[in-house]
């Protein structure tokens, strides 16, 4: 454990996992996951498909029960907010709700008046650049716009932890690049810590403070955390940074050079 991580451990923490194990029907797919997430920190989880990234994300937020180990998320109550929220791979907007009502979904049941919810839904929509179309139905939006609404819906509840499950993987390359840049900007304007699952290593290095690499599941053994890497590049214009390629390459060899599980 390096000194930076040790320092973070002493600080405030919004999400913790200790020796977490996940599985289906008695079969473990992932085990020995340890994690501490500081407020506003951005961690990316990468790994080959089938390694259990999305499963881990669902266990960390509590949508799926873990087989063993502990998981803790700061759920101390705050007015008009939820502890966590999620952006899914497909936008999964409710097609029968207008954009504004989609964004307000998580605000329902928090004791807010209807007017308050309507008003609160508008701010995150403006944040993602869709403040001018609150009354439209999702089917009239492009894929990129729909995913922006998905992000606005997640931000509306002012989460402590924002879980993002390959949110840009279904988009075309240009839209994906644009949304990645928007997410970098967005981080300055949200208090949320982010757990971001992706199979795109470049994307992980571009966005995250830390990258957790899952692997070692060859031959039917459960996957585990191979390594956790600090990304030391400055947040602005990472792609242009001289060390960007080297960090990506390092991670790629890490994933490719997994020893056979014993």
């Amino acid at each position: 454990m390096d000194t930076l991580t040790a320092e973070r451990n002493a600080d405030a923490c919004v999400l913790k996992a200790h020796d977490l194990a996940l599985g289906f029907g008695g079969q473990r797919v992932l085990e020995h996951v340890d994690l501490r997430l500081a407020p506003r920190e951005f961690i990316a989880i990468v790994g080959a498909s089938g390694v259990g990234k999305s499963t881990l994300l669902r266990a960390l937020c509590g949508l799926l029960p873990a087989v063993a180990g502990e998981r803790w998320l700061d759920e101390s109550p705050r007015d008009g907010a939820r502890p966590w929220s999620m952006v899914f791979q497909a936008p999964r907007l409710f097609p029968w709700r207008r954009i504004r009502a989609n964004v307000a979904l998580g605000l329902e049941g928090l004791g807010l008046s209807r007017e308050e919810r309507q008003r609160r839904a508008l701010a995150p929509l403006e944040l993602v650049g869709l403040g001018d179309m609150p009354e439209r139905f999702p089917s009239t939006l492009s894929g990129g716009q729909q995913q922006r609404v998905g992000i606005a819906r997640a931000l509306a509840v002012k989460p402590r932890v924002l879980f993002m499950d390959e949110p840009f993987s279904a988009l075309d390359a240009i839209t994906r690049r644009r949304l990645q840049n928007e997410l970098i900007d967005l981080r300055q304007r949200t208090e949320a810590a982010i757990v971001f699952v992706t199979h795109d290593i470049e994307e992980a290095v571009l966005l995250a403070d830390r990258v957790m690499v899952l692997g070692g599941h060859q031959g039917g053994a459960p996957a585990r955390v191979i390594d956790t890497l600090e990304i030391t590049l400055p947040t602005d214009n990472r792609r242009e940074h001289a060390d960007f390629g080297a960090q990506v390459h390092h991670l790629e060899t890490l994933i490719g050079a997994v020893p056979e599980a014993s």
């Binding site: 949508l63 999964r92 409710f94 097609p95 329902e108 928090l110 819906r153």
Partner: protein, 253 residues
Amino acid sequence: MKSVSRSRRTGLGALGLVAFVALWEISLRLGLLPGNLVPLPSAIPTVFWGEVVDGIWWEVVSSSLSHYSVGVAIGSLAGIAMGVAAALLPVFDALHAWLARLLRPIPPLAWIPFAIIWFGITPSAAAFIISIGVFWINYFASYSAVRAVDPGYDEVARAFGQGSLLARLTKVSLPAAAPGILGGLRAGLGQGWMTVVAAELFGIPGIGQRMMEASGLLATDIVVVYMLTIAALYALFDLGFLHLQKRLLIWTP
């Protein structure tokens, strides 16, 4: 196959109908059809007007409408409630699956004996029989519509604090299944008219009873008046419902 434009379709449809009625009229006048078995089309409007002036038309139509609306309302509500519940509650589903399979093939008219024993020769008996056919249509339509809802929506609901059964019912299952549920309702509105006449044949006042009376007197023209009445009422209800459906499903592309 070559497609036909919308306006041409309307024109051809009208032409086919007029040709059919004209052929019918001419066949009777030429003696090709027996006049005591088939009424003259040109006589129908006069007969219809006679029924209206006598006050009979409105009396039997309003009576049938009341059986129809009570039967359709009860059958639809019960069918949707049971279908949605079965789709959402696996234990409830499994508990009555065999029972449903047993009762489903029994035609509504086979319930007439019980309708008479339970309700007597009353409007309630007719409403009961009508409700049975409508119930099954709505039950199966709602069941499969709710079962077909993308489970991803349920996960969204749970991720945004709407995971309770009631919240998922009102915020996911019902709106997502609305197109299928409304489709069942519409089919039920049609099914209701199929049974309304039969349900009145055993003496409950209404269109069916009037048609039986008329056939006893060989008044085939009166029978046709009420056949056309049913067709018109069905078209009216169906059109109204289509309009409502369009407004409720404004979100569908």
